[in-house]
């Protein structure tokens, strides 16, 4: 595991040195500032408005970070020839995949925590209370971000980066849909649609922004189940990615 750890650190340092991360982070923070500057019709609802849209902004930020950080990692390694000396000698394919994933996941988590701090600052600036569940909500978005990251990794082994963006975004949108919304897309085959929806990820489990915005308490059990689900689905997507990667000839 030492090789995976070192390679994760190497990936982390590399991603911190790239402009992509800072560009996406700036876009998310500007979007949050933009949300906070939109006047609310009802002053008493301003906190709820900022929290609701702020957390939504951070969630979209998680998607952008996953794509911006990881869609080009493997294709770039292959294209430039960086992959060959790594895979030929010190690393096996699973070590390469996990090293790249953990490095990107840490960078993504750090960036999402910064956006959460940005949202807190905005709330403080508007003299609004910071809900206690804001941090758990951000943690769930981080787990959702890791799931999206693993999806980006999976697609990156057979799709080019321009194709990876729409594929992951589509999966992100579908994963937000409820079963009834999904079935209504093809009402003639409800059984099939239900089965397909069951297999597809359920990112709606990560959404606790509405309860937080409305001041409801989140059960710790729900929180733990959501984290467990997210980690399991990420592991599943990474296993699929590894299966594709293992079958690849590195010409």
């Amino acid at each position: 595991m030492k090789a995976v750890f070192t390679f994760s650190l190497m990936t982390l340092r590399m991603l911190f040195r790239r402009r992509t991360l800072w560009g996406i982070l700036l876009v998310i923070l500007l979007a949050l500032a933009g949300i906070a500057s939109v006047p609310s019709f009802d002053v008493s609802n301003q906190g709820r408005f900022i929290l609701d849209f702020g957390l939504f902004g951070i969630e979209v930020g998680a998607l952008l970070l996953a794509l911006g950080l990881a869609a080009n990692l493997y294709p770039r390694d292959r294209e430039t020839g960086t992959l060959m000396p790594l895979i030929a000698v010190p690393l096996s394919r699973w070590q390469y995949l996990l090293g790249r994933f953990f490095g990107a996941a840490l960078v993504q988590a750090a960036a999402l925590i910064v956006t959460c701090l940005g949202l807190m600052l905005i709330l403080l600036f508007h003299r609004l209370p910071i809900p206690g569940d804001l941090l758990p909500a951000t943690l769930l978005i981080i787990v959702e971000g890791w799931f999206l990251l693993s999806t980006v990794f999976f697609f990156s082994f057979f799709a080019s980066p321009p194709l990876n963006w729409p594929l992951t975004t589509m999966l992100f949108i579908v994963s937000q849909m409820s079963v009834s919304e999904f079935v209504s897309a093809m009402p003639s085959a409800p059984g099939l649609m239900r089965a397909v929806r069951l297999l597809l990820p359920h990112a709606d489990v990560f959404h606790i922004k509405d309860p937080i915005a409305h001041g409801f308490e989140i059960e710790p059990v729900y929180f733990l189940i959501a984290v467990f689900y997210g980690l399991c689905y990420s592991a599943f997507m990474l296993s699929l990615a590894l299966a594709v990667f293992r079958g690849r000839d590195l010409k």
Binding site: M14, A88, L91, D249, K251
Partner: protein, 292 residues
């Protein structure tokens, strides 16, 4: 216990599916050779002969369609044998935001090596990169990246060095330095498998050569065997078109028929002499002189 060679390739074949999914392209066809302990083996072939494909199969980057590869008697995927290998790829590249020193430290950690920064500095000095110790790799030329790949390959004091066109982007002085390092490593006991089409390099440092053409092994043996096995003759004739002297080199077996055909065509033969064979002659003769 029977001798276990550092590298044994047995009946290796590699086919790639065609892009449109119809049939396949045979890149390497049933080749067998070995690299014995302490040898420097040259792997020669024209562009597209299958050299890089063979090397990638040896390293497990490509899956062999048929045949077997063994490194000290184990499969290439075995992590213990991989630790004993140093590899220099054809077009090496590294994460370009790092400096050579950072890269060597991280590579060492990934390989579980216990060296310190002072060891890596010595290695950078040996490969001519000491001056660029703190320069980001993105500013490196192709030649400097090749020096970097040599440093990475030598880092673990490998028992087998596998090199794919290592001197391609280097100037003559750097090539000489590269060759000297290979010889030093070989004296230390490292076996070397050197793919190159710079035949003078192979002729200078290799004990044996394996010649590949069109994915098939066309000649193999010690340089002594290859260079001295068959008598070659050089015929000098006056070209009818340009009026200048033109030389042809051919094996003894073809000499008489060629002289007869030149006489028949009334081409003046200036001289016929025995030619000293170079590796280039052997290569051209073995491969038919054309890219296949």
């Amino acid at each position: 216990m029977a001798d276990v060679h550092p590298l044994q390739v047995m009946e290796l074949s590699k086919r790639f599916p065609r892009k449109r999914g119809l049939g396949s392209v045979q890149a390497v066809s049933s080749i067998s050779f070995d690299v014995r302990q302490g040898e420097i083996v040259g792997f020669i072939g024209h562009n597209g002969a299958g050299k890089t494909t063979t090397i990638k199969c040896i390293l497990g980057l490509l899956k062999a369609s048929e045949g077997k590869i063994s490194l000290w008697g184990s499969a290439p995927a075995d992590s213990d044998v991989r630790k004993r290998i140093g590899y220099i790829p054809e077009s090496p590249d590294y994460d370009d935001s790092f400096t050579p020193m950072e890269y060597l430290s991280m590579f060492a950690s990934m390989r579980g090596l216990s060296g310190k920064d002072t060891d890596w500095m010595k290695l950078l000095k040996r490969t001519g990169l000491a001056r660029w110790e703190t320069t980001r790799i993105r500013q490196f030329s192709k030649g400097m990246k090749q020096r970097m790949s040599l440093a990475v390959a030598l880092q673990s004091n490998p028992d087998l060095l596998i090199m794919d066109e290592p001197t391609g982007g280097l100037d003559p002085i750097a090539r000489k330095e590269f060759r000297d390092i290979i010889i030093e490593e070989n004296k230390r006991g490292t076996s070397v498998f050197l793919s190159s089409h710079i035949l003078s390099d192979v002729e200078t440092i290799c004990n044996r050569a394996v010649i590949l053409a069109g994915g098939k092994l066309v000649a193999e043996g010690s340089l002594k065997e290859l260079l001295g096995g068959e008598k070659l003759y050089r015929i000098t004739v006056i070209s009818r078109r340009t009026g200048e002297e033109v030389e042809e080199i051919m094996p003894e077996a073809d000499l008489q028929s060629r002289i007869d055909s030149l006489r028949k065509d009334n081409l003046p033969i200036v001289k016929v002499e025995m030619a000293l064979k170079s590796l280039e002659d052997v290569f051209l003769s073995a491969t038919g002189g054309e890219e296949q």
